[in-house]
């Protein structure tokens, strides 16, 4: 009888600590959709970058100003669509859980996600316009991973290991710099889909 009450207390403490400090409405579906969009974007980029090549493996990339513009358009469209679907699925999830979308937890999560992400984004743009194209794919992976690790304190635990995986993949990609797009597709495409599916199965209830 007494024990039951204290067990309940402990459960309540844990629940309140989680709800007050973490953003829990991440939806696995948003990961899956972002991953699929990333794969489509990568495929489109592949068509542009590697068109005039007769072999498929270790590609030396040549990029003209024209194809650079096309690449940037693909990147921006992919990014906006991904962010859009993430927002859509996440708001749906918050509504299901009867929680506010724009509260202290959300803001804290986004700010901590944004700091490494914007730093990396600006750095990549600088490198891109300076002609260091090969570094862009590994660096986006690395900075995205750092952003996830940084933000994982404020959301589901899985985000931390996803971040670590992205960082590792980014470092490998920096070494095998000719396969940048391939690693990028694995990191932003396949990893998102895999994590999305596992989180969807785990938290769907």
């Amino acid at each position: 009888m007494e024990k039951e009450k204290y067990l309940n207390d402990l459960r309540e403490i844990k629940d309140i600590m989680n709800r007050s400090s973490r953003f829990l409405s991440l939806s696995g579906l948003s990961g899956i959709s972002a991953g699929i969009l990333a794969l489509i974007g990568a495929f489109a980029a592949y068509q542009i970058v590697y068109t005039d090549q007769d072999y498929q493996s270790y590609g030396k990339v040549t990029i003209t100003p024209e194809s650079l513009t096309n690449l940037l358009i693909i990147a921006v469209v992919t990014l906006m669509l991904s962010v859009g679907t993430v927002i859509y699925f996440t708001t749906r999830e918050t509504r299901k859980r009867n929680q506010k979308i724009w509260d202290y937890q959300t803001r804290r999560l986004l700010i901590n996600l944004a700091i490494p992400l914007i730093t990396g984004g600006i750095l990549c743009l600088i490198l891109l316009f300076r002609g260091y194209i090969g570094l862009v794919a590994p660096l986006t992976l690395i900075f995205y991973g750092l952003a996830l690790v940084n933000a994982s304190k404020y959301t589901l635990d899985e985000i931390r290991s996803l971040g670590l995986a992205e960082i590792g993949l980014g470092l490998v990609a920096a070494h095998f710099i000719g396969f940048g797009l391939l690693f990028w597709s694995i990191g932003f495409g396949l990893l998102h889909i895999a994590y999305g599916i596992s989180m969807h199965l785990k938290y769907r209830s």
């Binding site: 024990k3 067990l7 402990l10 309540e12 007050s20 400090s21």
Partner: protein
Amino acid sequence: MKEILKELNKAFENKVRLGIMSALMVNDHLDFNSLKELLDVTDGNLASHLRSLEKSKYVTFKKEFLNRKPNTKYYATTKGKEAFTRHINAIEQLLK
């Protein structure tokens, strides 16, 4: 057994006070409205429990103005955090 029961803190026997302390353990501070939403209680209920925690010096607050509206931020004191940790340890002992 008696020793353990002594460690249990009367201040945290109440659900709302337990909730306030849990939330303030993992957040540096929370304002009145966040606490209210989180715990799903009325203004008066929350205020009276906050006052009782203040009296035990487990919680302090800072009044500020946010867009000219008063905004009260609540913090758990070191004393409050220690007391709460002892309370949880006692519960865990009890459940062993």
